[in-house]
Structure formats: structure tokens, C-alpha cells
């Protein structure tokens, strides 16, 4: 059982009693392979008999539509957008993640407060204010950070979805040179992630490695926290390899 811990103060209306589940967060920039790894982890955990819920940004019942509508207009100031994301985050934490943890599930969360903090800081929102706003967030049982360099990231992104408007900082960087803005934006963002990694005790995994290697590293990194969740599952996942 896990006693819930919060970064700052305990939020009102949230039970403080211990929960049997685990909160596992995967952080990293777009294109580093978070969703692939989460899909693999989910399958592996379910094969071990452990129930999983998955969640990520803009998936809340409350605020996902509102954020989509708001982003379409491009007229949003950074604080409003951040508070919208905070609402989305909080709705998922209280109404999806925490009930799952109390039910004994593993919550696999695709980006937590850290990506929100990193993106906001780049846009000039004070870091201290962001950390205050998310002060009531539950401390995860493990935070993985998939690290990568811009040079390693570029071919992956160009070869798949292409350069995204927001992921290139086009909303606040000047000029029409998307390639230049993308590299500038991602370099600053990655530096911010590394700073957060040190401050918030991330497990850093080299995200530039092949999928199977990253997956094995994630499995190994989860062994100790899922050990004991099911009596028949000693953490032997590291030997099973990725289901490819």
C-alpha cells in the first residue's frame, strides 16, 4: 500500500488513505516514443495480471473539448491556456487516476505536471507560479524521462507527423522559418526537462535507443514498484522482451 504524498499541500476533498495501485509517469518531448512504450507497458502489465488505466493531456471529460476549441482560435494568452490544462489535469487526477489507484490498478500517465511546467516556462510564465499551481499534485511512484537530443529527434519527427505548430513554438517565436524555430524550441525545452529531471527525481532513460532496448529499461525500472502487487508475479518481466 502507498500513502499518498503531495508536492505541496493536500487538496481538499481528496482522501488521504493509502492506496494499493501505482502511479507511473512517462515524460519526454513529442516524437521520443512515449505512446509506443506506454502501449507496450500496458500489454506487458496486463499479461502479468495487473489492471491498467492510461491517460494523457486533453483527455478529461471536463476540459478536453474546451481546450481544443480554445487552441483553434490562437488568441489565447499563456495563463489562460495553462489554467485550462491545469483544469484538465486535475479532472483526470481526481476522477480517473485516483479512483484507479484506490482500485489497485497501475495508472500509466503520458506526461504529468512536468511537461506542462516546461512548456509554460518557455512561454514566460513564472516557474514558481506553475509549481504553486500544481502543488496539490500527487507525487508519482515513478517518473521516467525519455531523453533525446534534437539531432536524434528531427529525423523521427520529419519522417512521421512532421513539424507541429505548437511543438515548434510558433505561437510565440518570431519568423516563418519552421525548421529553425523547431530546433530552437526543442533545444530549450529539452534543457528545461533535464533541469526538472534533477529537481523531481526522474529515472532518465536514453530514448534514442531502439524500441526494445528502451522497453527493457522501462521494465527493469518498474520491477521494484510492481513487485508485490500480485502474489504470482515476481518481477521477472525483464526477461520476456518486447512483444514485437
Amino acid at each position: 500500500m502507498n500513502t499518498p504524498r503531495f508536492y505541496g499541500i493536500r487538496p481538499p476533498g481528496v482522501q488521504a488513505e493509502a492506496y494499493p495501485g501505482r502511479l507511473v509517469v512517462i515524460e519526454g518531448t513529442d516524437g521520443v516514443g512515449r505512446s509506443t512504450q506506454i502501449a507496450l507497458l500496458r500489454e506487458w502489465l496486463e499479461d502479468c495480471g495487473i489492471a491498467v488505466i492510461q491517460t494523457g493531456f486533453r483527455r478529461s471529460e471536463l476540459a478536453s473539448r474546451g481546450i481544443q476549441r480554445a487552441k483553434r482560435g490562437h488568441t489565447l494568452d499563456p495563463l489562460t491556456l495553462n489554467l485550462f490544462y491545469a483544469t484538465d489535469f486535475w479532472d483526470r487526477l481526481e476522477r480517473n487516476i485516483m479512483p484507479a489507484l484506490r482500485a489497485g490498478m497501475v495508472a500509466l500517465v503520458d506526461r504529468y505536471i512536468f511537461s506542462l511546467i516546461a512548456r509554460a516556462v518557455l512561454r514566460g510564465v513564472p516557474r514558481g507560479w506553475m509549481e504553486d499551481v500544481y502543488g496539490m499534485a500527487l507525487v508519482p511512484d515513478r517518473i521516467f524521462y525519455l531523453d533525446i537530443t534534437v539531432e536524434q529527434l528531427l529525423p523521427r519527427v520529419i519522417g512521421t507527423a512532421g513539424l507541429d505548430y505548437w511543438e515548434s513554438g510558433q505561437d510565440y517565436l518570431r519568423g516563418a522559418d519552421l525548421y529553425h524555430n523547431y530546433t530552437t524550441y526543442q533545444q530549450t525545452l529539452l534543457a528545461e526537462y533535464r533541469r526538472l529531471a534533477a529537481e523531481f527525481d526522474f529515472r532518465v532513460i536514453d530514448g534514442s535507443k531502439p524500441v526494445g532496448v528502451v522497453f527493457r529499461a522501462l521494465q527493469q525500472g518498474m520491477e521494484d514498484i510492481i513487485a508485490g502487487m500480485t502474489p504470482s508475479t515476481p518481477a521477472d518481466g525483464s526477461e520476456s522482451g518486447p512483444p514485437e
Binding site: 505541496g8 499541500i9 487538496p11 481538499p12 476533498g13 471529460e61 471536463l62 476540459a63 473539448r65 474546451g66 476549441r69 480554445a70 482560435g73 488568441t75 489565447l76 494568452d77 495563463l79 489562460t80 489554467l83 485550462f84 491545469a86 483544469t87 486535475w90 479532472d91 481526481e94 476522477r95 507560479w129 504553486d132 499551481v133 502543488g135 496539490m136
Partner: protein, 253 residues
Amino acid sequence: MTTLQPNSGPGRLFIVEGIDGSGKSTQLDLLHKWLISEGYLVVFTEWNSSPIVKTTTRRGKQRRMLTPVSFSLIHAADFASRLYMQVIPALQAGAIVLADRYVFTAFARDGVRGLDRSWLRKLYAFAIQPTVAFYFDVPLDEAIKRILEGRPALKYYEAGLDLGLSRNPGESFRLFQGLIKNEYDHLAEEYGMVRIDATLPLVVQQQQVRQIVRPYLQGLPPMESTGLQDALKEHRLTGRYLEGKRPDEEDEA
């Protein structure tokens, strides 16, 4: 006395606060009309009205999805949106901004819902200090009577039913408003709000409000006349096809 961020523009910001049924909106409306008739450029903004955010808030309320924290955050998003899109540009342009409810509504309501008071102050640290903040102080019984007389049914969050104070909406509303009034009484002290006795005749309250506002209007440029009234008079037209323009909002200076 605690203050918020300084107003860096030449405009003025007047805000009204008070529990439901204190009559603050009526007084602000009268102030609004007077300022327009005096020829000033006036911008009005009210709580929970951002076109970007309010549909989400409504969705959360209708489906009763809001918890104390998400209730607080979505209202902060609404406030931020109006502050950056409406209030700050208007203050920079030298306008008078009138706000029906301000951060103190969030401090009072969210505080009653159990949110940490210093957390709430940090959340709203970006808010601009009003030129004058009016607090319409009314005894609880009087306010409850005014509200319940004219209203068929209280809404879930309006009545504070999410707090579990009572299952009876009327009783819950009374307890909730009592707690909010207690918060306001402290906030009025802490932030140096100007207290108006909301049991006085409306016309007397309005006289007091105007008397307090008047000295702050010095140095504000009256709105430039567009010459519409002159044109109508000169050409003997009534302006009946002018859309969205009430004649009394033009050129009275």
C-alpha cells in the same frame, strides 16, 4: 493591507463584491450608465463570462463534475482570459473598467470549499489591483430574502450543495452564503475594500458610490465624440437602422 499587481495603464478599475442578493450588480449598472452619460469610455466585465472558458464551466456544473480544485482552476482560467483580453488592454487605453465580481469572489467561495487561502492568493497573483473595490455589506437574512423571493429554484453549485452542508437547497444556500459572508468580512479588511451599507435606499448607495468614484476620474479623457448625434440632428434622421447603438450611449458629453 495586501495589494495585487500594480495597474500600469492610465485607466481605472472599479470592482464590486458582495454575497448574492447584496445588490452590487444593480449599483454597478447605475454607475456604468452614469459614467457613459458623463462621456467616459467604459468597459464592463463580469464573473464567469469568458467566451473561451464559460462553456467548459457550464458543462462541469450541469454534469456536476466539478470538485473544489477543478472548480477553482476553471474559474481562474475564466478570470485570466478576461483579464488579458479585456481588462488590461482597456486600462492601457485609458478606459474605465467595471468588474462585477473580482478575485475576492474566488478567495471567498473557494476558501469556503476548503482550498488553502495562501494557495488561492498565489493562483491569482497575476491579478491587477483595483482602483477601488466596493464591498456591498448586507445582513445574511436580508440577502437570502431578496434571492429566494425572485427565484424558482437554486442551482446545485449556487446553493453550495457540493459542500454537503445540508441536503435541503434553501438551507444549504443559507449556510453557504453565511460562510462566504464571513470570508468577505475578512477580505474587506485585508484588502482595504470600501464598505457600502447595502441596506440603505438604492439611491443613497449610488450617491455614495459616485462620490467615491468621482475623484479618480480626474485626468481621464472623455471619449471623443463621433458626431453621430450631430449628424442625426442636422439631417433630421432618427437612426432607427443603426444596429447595436443606443442613442444614449453616443455623444452625450
